[in-house]
């Protein structure tokens, strides 16, 4: 009797041990759901930054000033966003949200920049000797940007024993390419308190 109960317990333990080893379960979640695991920069932070900056860039005075002065919507090129924080943060996640919001609003025009622009020009160069004359795109007809969007990501970390306070500050600024005048600065601060 005792031996039987011992075998049953042993089997139960063995079952739990074997099943717990392969216990990985994956579920799809809504990207807007707030999930904080380690306290590091995550999807929620990126979304908060983009929401805030979209509201700021589309709702401030520089836009109406430009349209009043020039009579057309401003054209913006995205420059460099420097990550000076203590973590790996990809600015492209919120900058793309920002670009998309600008395009959807139809108030701001965007031109391509960086490596993607290099590729566009190389493709255009390739067309000069390979494409038919009627479909070949010409050099010298790109839209020149009126403003450049640049920025930085900073962080401040204060940790003691098992507690940590982190503040992220994302700054984006828009500068008039002709006059070097800064026409807009957007910022978003996110503070976190992490207790282990």
């Amino acid at each position: 009797m005792k031996l039987n109960s011992f075998i049953v317990v042993l089997l139960l333990v063995a079952t739990i041990a074997t099943t717990s080893c392969s216990n990985r379960k994956v579920t799809r979640v809504d990207p807007s759901e707030q999930i904080d695991l380690s306290g590091s920069w995550n999807n929620t932070d990126s979304r908060m930054v983009s929401d805030q900056l979209i509201n700021q860039i589309l709702g401030e005075k520089w836009l109406t000033d430009h349209v009043t002065a020039k009579g057309k919507k401003p054209v913006v090129i995205v420059g460099m966003v420097v990550n000076k924080s203590h973590e790996h943060i990809e600015a492209e996640t919120f900058v793309k949200d920002l670009e998309r919001a600008c395009l959807l609003s139809t108030k701001i025009g965007l031109v391509q920049s960086g490596k993607l622009r290099e590729e566009l020009r190389a493709e255009k160069a390739d067309q000069q000797s390979n494409a038919s004359q009627s479909t070949m795109k010409k050099f010298g007809l790109e839209h020149g940007a009126d403003y450049i969007l640049q920025g930085s990501i900073n962080s401040i970390v204060d940790a003691y024993k098992k507690r940590k306070a982190v503040t992220y500050q994302v700054n984006l600024e828009l500068t008039n390419l002709e006059s070097n005048e800064i026409v807009w600065i957007g910022d978003k601060k996110i503070s976190k308190y992490i207790k282990n």
């Binding site: 020009r121 190389a122 493709e123 010409k138 050099f139 007809l141």
Partner: protein, 125 residues
């Protein structure tokens, strides 16, 4: 010469076309092949995100591998006079500070380090 070959005779400009467009055109004609070589591909610019659990598993695997290698090396160099693991000499019973005193009523220390429990070993001395 190369530039001159690309530099076409400047035809009439389109309305609003940049009159210096040939400078850019010639520049990109020189390097277009390398730039468009990556078209229709997915360059990987990935990074390794820190995963606490995965790091723990990796560390555990590394520790096991290290221990296994040490066991193998010890077994291989068990009676090897020139082995670096024996520090150049097998000091059987002499100046060994109490360690590995082979031959002095310490049969246990003469067992091989792997295969002992399974009996899959040959005693060679």
């Amino acid at each position: 010469m190369a530039f001159a070959s690309f530099a076409q005779t400047q035809t009439s400009l389109e309305p609003d076309q940049n009159p210096n467009y040939l400078q850019s055109q010639n520049r990109y004609m020189m390097m277009k092949d390398s730039l468009i070589a990556s078209e229709n591909t997915t360059p990987q610019q990935t990074y390794k995100a820190y995963d606490w659990y995965q790091a723990k598993l990796d560390n555990r695997a590394a520790r096991r591998e290290t221990r296994r290698e040490i066991r193998l090396a010890n077994a291989y160099n068990y009676n090897n006079y020139y082995s670096p693991y024996n520090y150049g000499y097998n000091n059987f019973g002499y100046n060994n500070f109490g360690f590995n005193n082979f031959g002095y009523n310490n049969w246990w220390s003469m067992r091989p380090l792997i295969g002992y429990r399974s009996g899959n070993w040959n005693f060679c001395y």
